[in-house]
């Protein structure tokens, strides 16, 4: 069965999009473009950090906790949680090993 042809508007769109895509890809695939993009992101991050820093200072002046303090707390709680999870996993593993060892000892004593 023949593939249905695209409507005219779509054919026109494709005809326009192809050269546009080729030019845009030629531009965006350069190292210079990538550098500019990352510098832009970097600048935005710096501005955001500066604004956050200023708001943190203001909140601290009023003796109030800032977002940065909450993040630090979240990080500490998360680290603690991970440690507890690791310890309980390790304990579970040791308990299983002990159980297996106990089983082996029982088998040996029956023999």
């Amino acid at each position: 069965m023949a593939k249905p042809t695209n409507p005219r508007w779509r054919q026109a769109f494709d005809a326009l999009e192809k050269p546009l895509r080729e030019r845009a890809e030629a531009l965006t695939s350069t190292e210079e473009f990538s550098r500019a993009l990352m510098l832009l992101f970097g600048a935005a991050t710096t501005v955001r950090r500066g604004a956050r820093g200023a708001s943190t200072d203001l909140l601290h002046l009023a003796n109030l906790p800032a977002h940065a303090d909450l993040r630090r707390l979240a990080r500490q709680v998360g680290a603690l949680e991970n440690k507890v999870e690791s310890l309980s996993a390790e304990l579970g593993r040791v308990a299983r090993l002990l159980e297996q060892g106990g089983g082996e000892r029982q088998k040996r004593s029956v023999k």
């Binding site: 779509r10 999009e17 992101f41 709680v77 949680e81 996993a89 593993r93």
Partner: protein, 362 residues
């Protein structure tokens, strides 16, 4: 051509267009109001292990006929629901239909808590623990691993660093290996001329928006094409289901944990450690010669994220493994989604897994 012969055709066309425009209006409104055409990740599953935000899911199946279980995961910046996009287009469901016991690892969405996670956190700690949990839940003593994209990098780094995971066979799909061939986008990072800290945000991670932009910039007119396709197919409910699920996943990147990113930059991008044999994880040297299980390398020929040149050196680096390479006429994502996954990816995997099951039994 007579007028009598064309009149009914013209009427049919007009009727069809009127119907389609009514459907377009309905679906357009539905889409604009954010209503769901379909839900992602609906295949029934159970959480069998969790550490921090990392989770291991087991998919419920009473038709498991193949051993060992298969564990599937992506890398650190993608969401794992790509494997269970929506009913009718679920890689997990297709694997289950083939008799596999399927487990999926989701690394979670990092925030300030995960900012200090290194590559070693994932390769030497979380992955081996998740595999232990798979063995415990399934009662098996081996697994098959499918590492997709950067998930493959995590797997070879883990095994190459000497973790003792009982991997019976390994499938590495669209895995970047030679990072010098990953395209000019990574140029400023690769040359070391850009300070990584300049793109790490206040949570300590590379923001998801930058990760998303880095993917979208490769096809700068893709948004225009997406909307043209959307208008053309807006009347089609089935198309809208696929469009919504896929579009959501494509735009749903997660932040890259800051410490892992710095390490990824120095060891993988700048050092090109896999190809140069200089890769270190958590202070351990990664020796790909340690990988001795059968490996299936799946290379997507139309991959615009991991170019063929970046993927194809992998088989030669796995010196001590029995490697089978398949090149598929697929893009990066449709390796695991859509008809191509049905027709090409899954049959290749099943044949590989079966082949090694048979040789082992002989």
């Amino acid at each position: 051509m007579s007028v009598e012969a064309t009149a009914p055709d013209a009427l049919t066309i007009i009727r069809r267009e009127v119907e389609r425009n009514a459907l377009r209006a309905r679906n357009g409104l539905k889409y604009l109001t954010g209503a769901r055409f379909v839900r992602s990740a609906t295949t029934p599953r159970d959480l069998v292990w969790q550490h921090g935000k990392s989770q291991l899911w087991r998919y419920r199946s009473d038709r498991v006929t193949r051993r060992p279980p298969i564990v599937v995961y992506v890398g650190l910046v993608g969401r794992s629901y790509v494997f269970d996009l929506y009913p009718g287009n679920s890689f997990v469901r297709k694997l289950m239909d083939q008799g596999f016991d399927v487990f999926v690892i989701d690394w979670g969405v990092p925030d300030e808590v995960e900012a200090r996670n290194t590559i070693a956190t994932y390769t030497l700690e979380l992955l081996p623990r998740a595999i232990d949990a798979v063995l415990e839940a399934s009662g098996e003593h081996e697994v098959t691993i499918l590492g997709y994209c950067m998930g493959g990098c995590l797997t070879v780094a883990s095994l190459g660093a000497g973790t003792e995971m009982p991997v019976k066979s390994l499938i590495l799909a669209a895995m970047p290996t030679d990072f010098s061939k990953m395209g000019e986008f990574f140029g400023p990072l690769r040359s070391g001329s850009l300070d990584p800290d300049s793109i790490i945000d206040e949570t300590g991670n590379v923001p998801a928006s930058l990760v998303r932009t880095s993917f979208r910039i490769r096809k700068p007119t893709s948004d225009l094409v997406v909307y043209a396709n959307l208008w053309q197919n807006l009347w089609n409910d089935q198309y809208m289901e696929g469009f919504q699920a896929m579009n959501e996943w494509v735009n749903d990147q997660v932040p890259f944990p800051g410490a892992a990113f710095r390490e990824f930059l120095s060891e993988w991008l700048i050092g090109n450690g896999l190809v140069n044999g200089t890769l270190r994880v958590g202070g351990r040297r990664v020796d790909l010669g340690r990988i001795r299980c059968p490996v299936l390398c799946m290379i997507a020929e139309k991959d615009d994220i991991v170019p063929i040149a970046a993927a194809e050196p992998l088989p030669a680096l796995l010196k001590n493994a029995q490697v089978q390479t398949v090149r598929l006429p697929a893009g990066h994502i449709n390796l695991v989604t859509g008809r191509l996954a049905d027709q090409v990816t899954i049959p290749s995997m099943v044949s590989f897994v079966n082949h090694h099951a048979e040789t082992r039994a002989a």
